[in-house]
Symmetry: C2
Subunit: 331 residues, 2 copies
DNA sequence: TTGAAAGCGGTACCAA
DNA sequence: TTGGTACCGCTTTCAA
């Protein structure tokens, strides 16, 4: 029994007997159980998870490393994760790496030192070396959103190729004869959307622009890329932008030049920001169901933790992208 | 010395001597230090933080409970926190309560069970009972963004009264003769902005609308509130909305009714969403410097953890709101 | 069904 | 400067 004489926060000796009650162990008499329960309330007792971790080897927490928490996609995923994990009494450790590979490595190391039961990573790395370190430590990890060619790992994300295809095809269906693409940085999502764009073009001459002054926000990069497109001799009449912020920048450039959206140039983005309907021209975009991805990722992580399988076949989950049409392509 | 024969991940016996090296204890010979360092690298050794926590009583982590991670304000704060904490090798546990007081209490309990060294809370509670439980456990906590009247606690937030004052006064300076206010739910931020609005009015008849169908998003609540305002006999020519999403909804209602912004009705929001410049009419808003708030909150939390002061005078930090003028009030 | 005892991986203290 | 030892609070095992 807890010793009444001590302060709650100071060392309280709790015999094994009482501990069984905490964990609903079957070998306990009803009367004893009740007595212990009451005492727990009285003392406001809460088991020390660190001590439990030490012996079980589990921390009941998962880590989530993102390039930028401000990005609504990651924020929403985190929200989904948080909800799903809370239901299972798992904790969520988050680190925002600011798109810096160094910060990311440091964050991952910290997660490992904290012995999280699993790590989810939307990576800003250019190579896969640091994932090696995770698997060496036998910690299950899941790549999220961004994958790496030739690196077999558990992955959960959106079918970016399909997203690019759908968006581009949509522009063509709306009568665009010359669809350009403002592409993103060298990560798998941008590559996938580019590939989908090319497939949808089906042989027609592609027009691809890239603005990689990395210091700028995506929106201003989209702006600059669009300015280039407007200056070219054969102006496009439709543009698929690799994400919504770049689409916002592009729209800004178009409207500023006196052209109309979608009459002169139609625009489609990707990501379906929740503010997309309120933009200067409501933006057609590809929805990535980030909340669902968060929940899905949580389920996958929990399954990996439970199953304890050391390194079975890496699982890959691709969610279906869905087009949401708005005024920017409605013509 | 670490015993070479064992697997890294399996129990490795580490004598006290070697541990001193890890913690840069002074009582160590150079040669020994070097030898141990090398061996650490070889074994890829990482101290078990759970074990350390058990004896030190510290977890080197802080918890952050927010009503909604998707809200850019909280996302950005979290980002600021994450960066500042990473520099000090502290971990960040995040829980998104979805504005549900029950979820929030559960999240706080979990944080306490995990023995975080401090808790930051942007609370969705209507009363302060659950904070009581935190201080009973002697865990320092900081209220963030939202405070509670009559509840003395460490607090860090924006001077909401001033924000409301500045925004309203700005509308009046731009020639609005009848400034209305679309107010938010019964939390301190909304109350403060309302108070500032009233002070700026300086006796002029206030027009206050509220739409509290809680199930809807803030933007659609703003829309509904604006519809009411448009139907009234004396239509306002300026509206201060308690946050940016509600301002977006209000703008939508105005434009849909065929009126112009800002010529017929000027709009000011609060929060300065990073997408504010790209809205249908770029939105004048009050900036809350959420990133700085995150960093500031991290500093405050670390200071409280270090200082170990049990319950000195609660500290209250109020950041200055700053108006960012855009087209929605430029006339 | 109950309670005692060992040990998880660290830290802190003390004697050599 | 070094290494041995007693815990931290919990889980697990085993004998009563």
């Amino acid at each position: 029994m807890f010793s009444q004489s001590r302060e709650f926060s100071s060392p309280v000796h709790i015999p094994a007997q009482s501990q069984k009650v905490l964990r609903n162990h079957p070998d306990i008499g009803d009367e004893t159980r009740e007595r212990v329960r009451r005492r727990m309330k009285e003392l406001n007792y809460q088991p020390n998870l660190a001590a439990r971790s030490l012996v079980t080897g589990k921390t009941y927490s998962v880590g989530f490393v993102v390039p930028d928490l401000m990005h609504p996609f990651f924020a929403e995923m985190a929200k989904g994760l948080s909800g799903a994990l809370r239901e299972h009494s798992y904790g969520l450790l988050i680190a925002s790496s600011q798109e810096s590979p160094d910060n990311e490595v440091q964050a991952i190391e910290q997660m490992l030192a904290r012995r999280v039961d699993a790590v989810l990573i939307a990576s800003a790395q250019s190579d896969t070396a640091c994932f090696q370190r995770i698997s060496e430590r036998n910690v299950p990890y899941i790549l999220v959103d961004r994958s790496f060619l030739g690196h077999a790992a558990n992955f959960i994300g959106v079918d970016d190729e399909k997203a690019g295809f759908i968006a581009t095809r949509h522009l063509m269906d709306r009568g665009c004869r010359r669809v350009a693409h403002i592409r993103g940085p060298a990560v798998s999502t941008a590559e996938g959307r580019l590939a989908g764009y090319l497939r949808a073009l089906d042989g027609v001459d592609p027009v691809i622009v890239r603005e990689d002054k990395h210091e700028d926000a995506a929106s201003s990069r989209g702006f600059q890329a669009m300015v280039k497109l407007l200056q070219s001799d054969r102006r496009p009449d439709g543009v698929f932008c690799f994400n919504d912020p770049s689409a916002m920048g592009a729209m800004h450039a178009i409207l500023e030049s006196g052209l109309r959206i979608p009459e002169d140039i139609a625009i489609a983005g990707c990501g379906n920001l929740n503010y997309a309907p309120f933009l200067r021209v409501p933006l057609t975009s590809i929805d990535q169901s980030s909340l669902a991805m968060g929940e899905r990722a949580a389920r996958m992580a929990l399954a990996m933790i439970e199953s304890k399988k050391p390194s079975g076949e890496p699982e890959s989950v691709l969610l279906e992208p869905a087009l949401v049409e708005r005024a920017s392509t409605r013509r």
